[in-house]
Amino acid sequence: MQYEVEANGRVRRVTVHRAAGTFVVDVDGRARTVSAERIDGYTLSLLIEDVRLKPDATLSDAASVPVGSGFSRTSSVSRICSYEVTVAPDGDSGQLRVSVGSRTVAVSLNGRRRWGRRAHGADAGGGPERIVAPMPGKIVRVLVAQGAAVRAHQAVVVVEAMKMENELRAGRDGIVTEVHVQDGQSVEAGGLLVVIAAAHAE
């Protein structure tokens, strides 16, 4: 999968390939092998290979259990750096806040700061539109039922959050294909609420 990731004002082209149990992540042409594990919904443990002298001792060796082939003090040193990283939405800015130790980097994925809005915005593309909760809150009212036809900008769900009621609206004309919440239910940021298929057949 390809991503455009913006951090500190610089856009980086990132390509992720899956290898056996690990990932190969290419950032602007520099590829590194990465082992990534979820600790919880906001936390990742990353082991990132940083080959120094010889590129033959790779993380995939390490991850797939090295056979102790006798100890020979060769010059190949391969740093496999460990990071515990939290990735959390940055309020309603649409950015992600990625914390590495006590340092935090604001990151935007695919050049969109407001991916929260984008997710239910009136953007192009024929895929179904997914209305997600922009912040933690409570469903005050679900205004549409499965199968209902909706028009662009029509309110579909009212969410109470930060002491305010927020109307979430359809980005375009379509048919409600999924309703995942009901009145009174609590949701977390990013929680999928409603899916709307484009009015024209896909």
Binding site: Y3, A7, N8, V25, R38, G41, T43, V87, R103, L109
Partner: protein, 510 residues
């Protein structure tokens, strides 16, 4: 005196701190809470709890009547005010005692006396302790401009116009030359009137690059007053302490004897009981001046506890129930090792330290050797917008100052707080600055640095940038539902998945 159940008229970390002392002493604790604090840590920690009103402090934590009513309903026999809110309100202390309850603190007379900055200065002078040069009497609204100008000239410029009833930097203005005097007085009076209901001001000469050095005291009800090794609190932002340490690099053993004797003399002169702190300014020539007295427990009390082994809150309660202060005086002045505290705030240091309330999505405080975290926050809950946005007081102890600084850096690095901005990056930056490491700082050091940096972010993330970019891409990648990765069996809940599915979809559409 019987002391069995104690109502803590406060919230947040200090309420929890006091309840911990209660629990260790076998005392029953009663929390009070405003509407938004129903699920706050201090309510969950307490043995009992009473609602006292809406969120605004003026409708709950500052309502003497409601707090006394809660004490009556719960059957408490004592009230601890913590710090802030009603802690230095002489009327509150009096009302608690009039209701037949123990007030854990000094007499209301002592609170009232020290609450007037000019009266406090006079008391210090009378006890033979130097005060910052300035005017002696309050300048009420009747004082003419000409008279004010004459008094100001006597003090000398630059000077500070300060509210007599002031505190926390409110009602305070700096004047560099006579032309700015009238405006400064008008502004200070206006602010003081709003904040304290008293427009009286006085003048104080502004010292050049002073340090803020303070002396913790305990006094019992039998006339014993004991001072503790000094605290260095010069790292301030807009008159608010943000880092404290003890002992101070600027205080020699000889100066420590002088400072602590002076502090004890002032306290004895006013018949001070329970815990209190006398603040001094220390100029570049090593001369010190009485600044004011805080007639309550101080935010930064943990560092004193760490280097002396004395539990100050436990002693507050012991003194309040009539015990004698039988600590060895010399031990309190001989610190073991070094302690530092950082006040972790929900503020964005890269955005002018604006408050950053919101939900704490992940919270994992540091631990291991030499770490003490006094926290008032919990994962999953909001930092309320109505009160001081302090998340925790992070304190470390180690055998020396360099070791303590290294340990604090380790602790800051371990602290995980996701979901809101905090002052952690600022402290990580500060704790590698040569001026900090060498102890070359003064009360406006941080403000000067901030002015000089002019918004430049504290968070230098060049080293972490690649990691962050990789993490963001992988977080999206791993949320793919076609995910064949056999090992990521630990995903919690559907929300992260849903969120990052959204990301992935956005990605594929590009």
């Amino acid at each position: 005196m019987q002391l069995h159940k104690i109502l803590i008229a406060n919230r947040g970390e200090i309420a929890v701190r006091i309840m911990r002392a209660c629990r260790e002493m076998g005392l029953v604790s009663v929390a009070v809470f405003s509407e938004c604090d129903r699920t706050a840590p201090h309510v969950r920690y307490a043995d009992e709890a009473c609602a006292i009103g809406p969120n605004a402090p003026g409708e709950s934590y500052l309502r003497i009547d409601r707090i006394l009513d809660a004490a009556r309903r719960s059957g408490a026999d004592a009230v601890h005010p913590g710090y802030g809110f009603l802690a230095e309100n002489a009327d509150f202390a009096r009302a608690v005692r009039d209701a037949g309850l123990i007030f854990v603190g000094p007499t209301s007379d002592a609170i009232a006396l020290m609450g007037s900055k000019t009266a406090a200065r006079a008391a210090a002078s009378a006890a033979g302790v130097p005060v910052v040069p300035g005017t002696t009497d309050p300048l009420g609204p009747e004082v003419s401009a000409a008279e004010a100008a004459r008094l100001a000239a006597g003090v000398g410029y630059p000077l500070l116009v300060k509210a007599v009833a002031g505190g926390g930097g409110k009602g305070m203005r700096t004047v560099t030359d006579p032309s700015g005097l009238s405006d400064a007085i008008r502004a200070a009076r206006s602010e003081a009137g709003t904040a304290f209901g008293d427009t009286a001001v006085y003048f104080e000469r502004q010292l050049l690059r002073p340090r803020h050095i303070e002396v913790q005291l305990l006094g019992d009800e039998y006339g014993t007053v004991l001072p503790f090794v000094e605290r260095e609190c010069s790292i301030q932002r807009r008159h608010q302490k943000v880092v404290e340490e003890t002992p101070s690099l600027a205080v020699t053993p000889a100066l420590r004897r002088e400072l602590t004797s002076a502090a004890a003399a002032v306290a004895r002169a006013v018949g001070y009981t329970n815990a209190g702190t006398i603040e001094f300014l220390l100029d570049e020539d090593g001369r010190f001046y009485f600044l004011e007295m805080n007639t309550r427990l101080q935010v930064e009390h943990p560092i004193t506890e760490l280097v002396t082994g004395v539990d100050l809150v436990r002693w507050q309660l012991r003194i309040a129930r009539g015990e004698r202060l039988d600590l060895p005086a010399d031990r309190l002045l001989a610190p073991s090792g070094h302690a530092i505290e950082c006040r972790i705030y929900a503020e964005d240091p890269d955005n002018g330290f604006l408050p950053s309330p919101g939900r704490i999505l992940r919270l994992r405080p540091p631990s291991g050797p030499g770490i003490r975290d006094d926290s008032g926050a919990t994962e999953g809950l909001d930092v309320p917008i109505f009160y001081d946005p302090m998340i925790s007081k992070l304190a470390v102890w180690d055998e020396s100052r360099p070791a303590a600084v290294a340990r604090m850096r380790r602790a800051l690095d371990e602290y995980i707080i996701a979901g809101i901005e905090t002052t952690l990056p600022f402290f990580s930056w500060l704790l590698v600055q040569p001026a900090f490491l060498e102890g070359r700082f003064y009360t406006t050091y941080v403000d000067d640095v901030l002015r000089h940096r002019n918004g430049q972010p504290f968070t230098d993330t060049s080293e972490q940038e690649d990691v962050a970019v990789i993490a963001a891409a992988l977080q999206a990648e791993m949320s793919s539902t076609s995910e064949p990765d056999a090992r990521s069996v630990r995903l919690q809940g559907w929300t992260a998945r849903a969120r990052f599915e959204g990301l992935r979809l956005a990605a594929t559409r590009e």
